[in-house]
């Protein structure tokens, strides 16, 4: 059964990957033989979603609970929500180019999920509730739609900047794309080290307990006041170069911080190699894919993503969250960091909607806001757990 589950996960990954490639081919293609390819692209992504559902079902059968209880399961589900939201929006607008950007992002997200421990853990008492999947899945579905909105916004920016009409935005757009490259770089590095079984561990004091922190990447930064237990060599590098500051208190904060540094380093190296070969900006590389699109349509898709996601996010991340928090922690709202950041995300999209609907912020401004909103979601996912140990520390 476990083998079946793992194979389904690999199957999902491969289907998303192939679908991403076909979408890119469709987007670059000039005219002919496109109909078959177009159909193939969308069929592959739908097949990916189906296999992804099958994967989740086997995981429910094995684990006895819905797979949204740790970081791997949540990010994998977020990837599922992203592809699902894409398929819904694709059904409305039939823009293949959107797939050429969304599907690669889905591949990266799934790879990023795979970096975290994949074993099924039993549910601690705090998570034993039906709200675990009701709350988390609804919130994630909303975030998936926000992600599609962000991608459409990015395409809009690439279109406008690539056309050479908005030179002032070029720098910021390139920086945004480099951050994406860092996410890719981190996933690649982690999966490679995982494949070769790299291991390092440190022992240190957390709230008067001796804790062993495991590293899957060579340590650049060690936990605060820690001792190395075992550090594999990597190209005769052993490290660490320095220690994490004492205020990084979250669960496994130092190893996550180490991962962030790896992401930045690998991302920049990848980008440098790319620049050395291609000698042009990333957005210039991507511009030919989007050249033929109608900017007004992209703007509408980006807004549609928010319009679909906002009610779902409100329901999942605020209302259901409050109902569950009231059952589990005895109060509907407690300003736990994760709660606060869900509130911030919601307020941000509220501001987006008012700026757009009432102040007429469309086009470039709206596109940047759509990108910014998803950046806040990713911050909540990656950074908040790094620094702060709140009640949501298991994710």
């Amino acid at each position: 059964m476990t083998t079946v589950m793992n194979n389904l996960l690999y199957g999902t990954f491969i289907l998303y990957l192939v679908s991403a490639i076909v979408f890119v081919v469709v987007a670059t293609e000039s005219k002919n033989r496109s109909k078959v390819w177009r159909r193939l692209a969308i069929i592959l992504s739908i097949a990916g979603v189906v296999i992804h559902v099958a994967f989740m079902i086997t995981r429910i059968v094995i684990g006895g609970h819905f797979p949204t209880s740790n970081m791997f399961e949540f990010i994998a589900f977020l990837c599922f929500a992203l592809v699902l939201a894409f398929i819904v929006i694709f059904a409305i607008y039939r823009t293949y180019v959107l797939g050429a950007f969304v599907m690669p992002l889905a591949v990266v997200l799934l790879a990023y999920a795979a970096v975290f421990p994949r074993n099924i853990q039993p549910l601690i008492p705090a998570l034993q509730s039906h709200w675990l999947y009701i709350h988390v899945t609804t919130a994630a579905l909303g975030q998936g739609a926000f992600a599609v909105s962000c991608v459409a916004g990015l395409i809009y920016l690439i279109y406008q900047v690539g056309k050479g009409e908005k030179p002032k935005h070029a720098k910021y757009l390139e920086m945004t794309l480099i951050i994406l490259v860092m996410l890719v770089g981190f996933s690649i590095a982690s999966l490679l080290f995982q494949t070769f079984g790299y291991q390092a561990s440190f022992i240190h004091q957390v709230n008067e307990n001796q804790v062993i922190e495991e590293y899957n990447l060579p340590p650049i930064v060690a936990p605060n006041e820690s001792k190395a237990v075992k550090v594999d060599q990597f190209l005769s590098y052993q490290g660490p170069l320095f220690e994490a500051p004492s205020w990084m208190k979250g669960e496994k904060a130092a190893s996550k911080f180490n991962s962030v540094i790896w992401g930045i380093v690998v991302g920049l190296v990848l980008y440098a190699i790319y620049r050395a070969i291609a000698r042009k900006n990333l957005y210039q590389l991507l511009y030919p894919l989007v050249r033929k699109l109608d900017p007004e349509l992209l703007d509408e898709i980006s807004y549609r993503g928010v319009a679909i996601g906002y009610p779902l996010f409100t329901l999942g991340a605020l209302i259901f969250a409050m109902i569950w928090a009231n059952e589990a922690w005895g109060r509907p709202w407690g300003w736990d960091p994760k709660e606060t950041w869900a509130f911030i995300t919601w307020m941000f999209y509220s501001a987006y909607l008012h700026l757009r609907l009432s102040r007429g912020w469309v086009g470039m401004k709206s596109a940047w806001l759509a990108v910014g909103g998803f950046v806040i979601i990713m911050l909540n996912l990656i950074v908040i757990n790094l620094v702060i140990s709140g009640l949501h520390s298991y994710a």
Binding site: I92, Y93, N119, Q121, P122, L123, I124, P125, A126, Q128, S129, W131, N207, W247, K292, L293, D294, E296, L297, E300, Y303, A307, I308, Y310, P311, T314, L315, L318, I319, M322, I323, N326, E327, A328, W329, G330, R331, P332, G334, W335, D336, P337, T340, W341, F343, I344, M347, F348, S350, A351, H354, L355, L357, S358, R359, G360, I384, V387, I388, G390
Partner: protein, 520 residues
């Protein structure tokens, strides 16, 4: 400000009107402009109070809060402040009761500033509450300022609109008509009705409309949010909510703090998952469980049971809004010690007696066979200071007892000192030895005590909000105006969002060139 509010069509509009109520012609400019009137269409070009009256203080306050710009600024300030509040943990989450020193010691200078600027207890501060209230006021006034004129405008729509109004819609076209005019309009009306438009006709003009209710979505959402905020405000009423904590040992009955109820712990337990080989963190807890009984005292002071429940995490006891939550668990609290009495000569165990640590008194006599044992002295946390036995605290960390064992018929007996964890040499003349025979341990449950009377209000607010959001976001208000004048067909169309779908719909009723090349 617009001086002339009389339209070319002869209609007299209220002061502040942007688009003529009757024919839709823009009033504030010379009418040969070709610019689209998307912005003006947002509130149907109606006069809004905030744009019309601007003199008295009341007007100024109204105008301040009716501005969406101000609302957005308030939202952005709130979200930035909320973000700053998560840089370090809030006071309620720190493992210290003196935040004035904790933040500086733990986080350095930044921590000191964090505390001194009041960010460490931000979400319950007066200024955060002020921000939230201002957002609440803004919600009410912004909504009223817009929804009333919008409602009036949409309710009293005229079918015939001026060609200027039609031509300046974002989607518009002009076609020369060769065929029979009434027949063509009949045909278009049928096709639009088939697309579930509500069609109204007046001579050679036509208005088709659908999904108008979605325009009320945002306002319904705002009503829900206001109800929600009222729920938060009500928490400032005394007795509206309660947040306390109580520890109950197994077998104990204690008063629920700040209430007239009592709770008894009939047993607390912890369960673990079967250990798996992979888990190296030790066993994982599967359940914390407390069997609780809630009592109330009657007039005679007798405890009357009210309700009984096995409390689990995620499954609290709920009695008329008073909730008890399983929050913490402590195992192995020492409540009693068992001792055995041994005859020194024969090494025979004469029997066991049990001392309940919460009921120690000099008059208490423990009977073992023919013998009686009395406690002459008790040191819960035994230590020797200056050759004198003392107790360091009242917690039974190292309990020690001075017993007197009295034989039958005698009034005085022999003394023996028993110290847990030590083998104290009692006098050789003693006939009996007293040794530790075991501990009585119980589990203790930490229960959160909560009352939150606003819960139903939050729920109602949340439900209304969601209804509004779904109405507003998953439907859209579409309108099509058609007018034939001098054998020219004018068509204009407007939607509050999702223009692509509207274009596609129009292309399906015969205006295919409204769909842009790229979208085909």
């Amino acid at each position: 400000m617009i001086e002339n509010t009389k339209c070319e069509c002869g209609h007299n509009n209220p002061l502040g009107t942007v688009l003529c109520e009757h024919c839709g012609r823009p009033l504030d400019e010379i009418s040969d402009s070709k610019e689209k009137i998307d912005k003006e269409m947002r509130y149907e070009g109606k006069a809004r109070r905030s744009l019309t009256y601007q003199t008295s203080i009341m007007d100024q306050v109204w105008n301040f809060f009716s501005s969406v710009k101000i609302a957005i600024v308030l939202i952005i300030i709130t979200l930035i402040m909320s973000g700053i509040g998560t840089i370090f943990p809030q006071e309620q989450f720190i493992p210290s009761s003196s935040p004035d020193t904790y933040y500086e010691q733990t986080y350095g200078t930044l921590g000191k500033w964090f505390y001194q600027l009041g960010f460490s207890d931000m979400y319950s501060s007066w200024w955060f509450a002020t921000l939230m209230s201002m957002i609440g006021i803004s919600l009410v006034i912004c909504s009223l300022d817009r929804v009333i004129p919008l409602y009036r405008a949409l309710k009293n729509q005229k079918v015939a609109k001026s060609t200027v109004f039609i031509e300046r819609q974002r989607i518009s076209l002009k076609e020369n008509m060769l065929e029979d005019v009434p027949a063509k309009i009949d045909d278009l009306a049928d096709k639009l009705a088939a697309k579930r438009y509500h069609v109204r006709r007046e001579g050679n003009t036509l208005l088709a409309e659908k999904g108008r209710f979605s325009r009320w979505g945002p306002y319904i959402n705002h009503i829900g949010l206001i109800i929600f905020l009222v729920g938060i405000l009500l928490r400032y009423l005394p007795g509206w909510n309660l947040d306390d904590y109580v520890w109950v040992q197994e077998g104990q009955t204690v008063r629920v703090p700040q209430t007239h109820y009592y709770v008894k712990n009939e047993g607390s337990s912890i369960e673990y998952y079967k250990s798996t080989e992979k888990s190296n963190k030790g066993p994982i807890v599967s359940k914390y469980r407390t069997k609780a009984v809630l009592y109330q005292k009657d007039s005679a002071g007798k405890l009357i049971p009210l309700t009984k429940k096995t409390i689990l995490v995620n499954d609290p006891l709920n009695y008329q809004g008073l909730k008890l939550y399983q929050s913490d668990f402590r195992s192995g609290d020492l409540t009693g010690i068992k001792f055995s009495l041994i005859d020194r000569k024969t090494k025979k165990n004469l029997g066991v007696f049990s001392v309940n640590l919460s009921q120690i008194s000099e008059s208490q006599i423990y009977k073992v066979g023919d013998l009686r044992v009395k406690i002459k002295d008790y040191y819960p946390d035994f230590a020797i200071e200056n050759n004198v036995p003392v107790t360091k605290s009242q917690d039974p960390n190292q309990p020690a007892f001075l017993f007197e064992t009295i034989e039958k018929g005698k009034t005085k007996g022999e003394n023996s000192l028993v110290i847990s964890g030590m083998n104290f040499p009692n006098p050789k003349s003693n006939k009996y030895d007293i040794g530790l025979a075991g501990f009585d341990m119980v589990n203790t449950a930490g229960l959160m005590v909560r009352v939150e009377k606003s819960l139903p209000i939050y729920l109602i607010g949340g439900i209304i909000s969601m209804i509004g959001l779904v109405m507003g976001f998953y439907w859209q208000h579409r309108r099509v105006w058609i007018r034939v004048q001098d054998r020219i067909l004018y068509l204009g169309a407007h939607t509050n969002k999702n223009w692509f779908a509207l274009r596609r719909e129009l292309s399906q009723i015969g205006f295919s060139h409204l769909v842009k090349e790229i979208e085909k």
